[in-house]
Amino acid sequence: MDFELMSNSFPKLLNAAGVTLKLLSVSLVVGLFIGLLFAILRLNKNIFINKFAYGYSYVFRGTPLLVQIFIIYFGLGQIEYLRSTFLWIVLKEPYWCAIIAFALNTGAYTSEILRSAFQTIKPGIVEAAKSLGVPDKIILYKIQIPIAIRQSLPAYGNEIILMMKGTSLASTVTLMDLTGVAKYIISTTFKPIEVFIVAGGIYLFMTFCIHNLIKLLEKKYSF
């Protein structure tokens, strides 16, 4: 055991954990909106809208995240037309490509989680609101969405942890996140076990924090 290497690499890895957290939080926020949108589309009665939303979640959940990142980072740059639009400002940055891929990926899983949460809402609740003359929009925003959020908290907590592990793939498109820096240190020092213990420890600590945060929220919103 090379304890000196471990203590030397700790601040570098901690710094990189900041990049991981930034990637995670931005993609989760964007992904939550995408997930909510597609969950609502899934519940739509129009068969085309419904199938489209189902197709989106099927494709993004059935293919590896690595493929998705590579299509967005390497693939989209190939389309000449895109290069001439303002989108290119975003798509030429690996940082934004990674975030787009993560957000679309977590959006697909989130839409499934929210959809099943919506479906477990008892019809009586919605019927009661309707018979009280509450407008449809208010039923959605003030009744269905809050209940769905509570129902989906445990599954969403798992999704946050899975996504945190997913951000490690950012290192494959040159971003120096926690895994990227860990790989760099391993490949320069050839001490994989020491670096794994430190980097893995930081990841586990983040998992631990997310896990407890979700438990706290579950307690707060339980009924």
């Binding site: 590896p64 995240l65 390497f74 994989p192």
Partner: protein, 230 residues
């Protein structure tokens, strides 16, 4: 379509072999995962504190650390560890383990953590009465396990194991960083030499979807088979 031709002109045959490689690695990893689950599920269910701690550490660490980091650990540390063990037995030559073994073992250990959780859940949801009734009937321990407990565990576990299969299949794409030529690696090579990454990565996505689609069909049949009488 020319890009996908078989033979020297296209990438069809290379991608076909790469697809087989992905399937073989996934199956190998899944089996290695079952072996790990076979060891760690009893540890997690045991009343012994130390065994419990070992079982829980395995599933917590593996499920809390990114797959890519575990793969790097095996990729960079694998041959070192084997050589260290070999040196204890007096063998000091350089040993290189190939990418297939490194990859399968790394993904297998990850898959095993998920399988362990599935089996633990399945065993715990079998009613206590089943164990007691088997005991009262005077069945031997091995018959109790193989004829009473295992069929029920399998029935309960198969739906969740199909999730584990999907996770494992997708995780194999990460082994491409070690140079093993599976779908992802082959697409990377093809994309590099034809400068058409959009086509090849999209095609890779289609291949993964096809594998998922057909494996779900097989799993659904298994599910029917094991839920006869329910």
């Amino acid at each position: 379509m020319e890009l996908l031709a078989f033979g020297d002109t296209g990438w069809g045959d290379e991608l076909f072999i790469a697809t087989l490689m992905t399937i073989v690695v996934s199956l190998t990893a899944m089996i290695i995962g079952f072996l790990f689950a076979l060891v760690f599920t009893p540890l997690k269910l045991s009343n012994n504190r130390l065994f419990n701690f070992i079982g829980n550490s395995y599933t917590t660490v593996i499920r809390g650390v990114p797959e890519l980091l575990v793969i790097y650990l095996f990729f960079f540390g694998g041959s070192g560890a084997i050589m260290y063990v070999a040196s204890i037995f007096g063998y000091n030559e350089y040993i290189e383990i190939n990418a297939f073994i490194t990859g399968s073992v790394a993904i297998g250990i990850i898959s095993g953590a998920y399988s362990t959780e599935v089996f633990r859940g399945a065993v715990q949801s079998i009613e206590k009465g089943q164990f007691e009734a088997a005991e009262v009937l005077g069945l031997s321990k091995s018959i109790q396990f193989y004829k009473i407990i295992l069929p029920q565990v399998l029935r309960l576990a198969i739906p969740n194991l199909s999730n584990v299969w999907q996770i494992t299949l997708k995780d194999t794409s990460l082994i491409s960083v070690t140079g093993l030529v599976e779908i992802m690696r082959q697409s990377y090579i093809a994309a590099g030499s034809t400068r058409d990454p959009l086509f090849f990565y999209s095609f890779a996505a289609v291949l993964y979807l096809l594998i998922t689609y057909f494996s779900m069909k097989v799993i659904n049949r298994l599910e029917l088979r094991y839920s006869r009488g329910h």
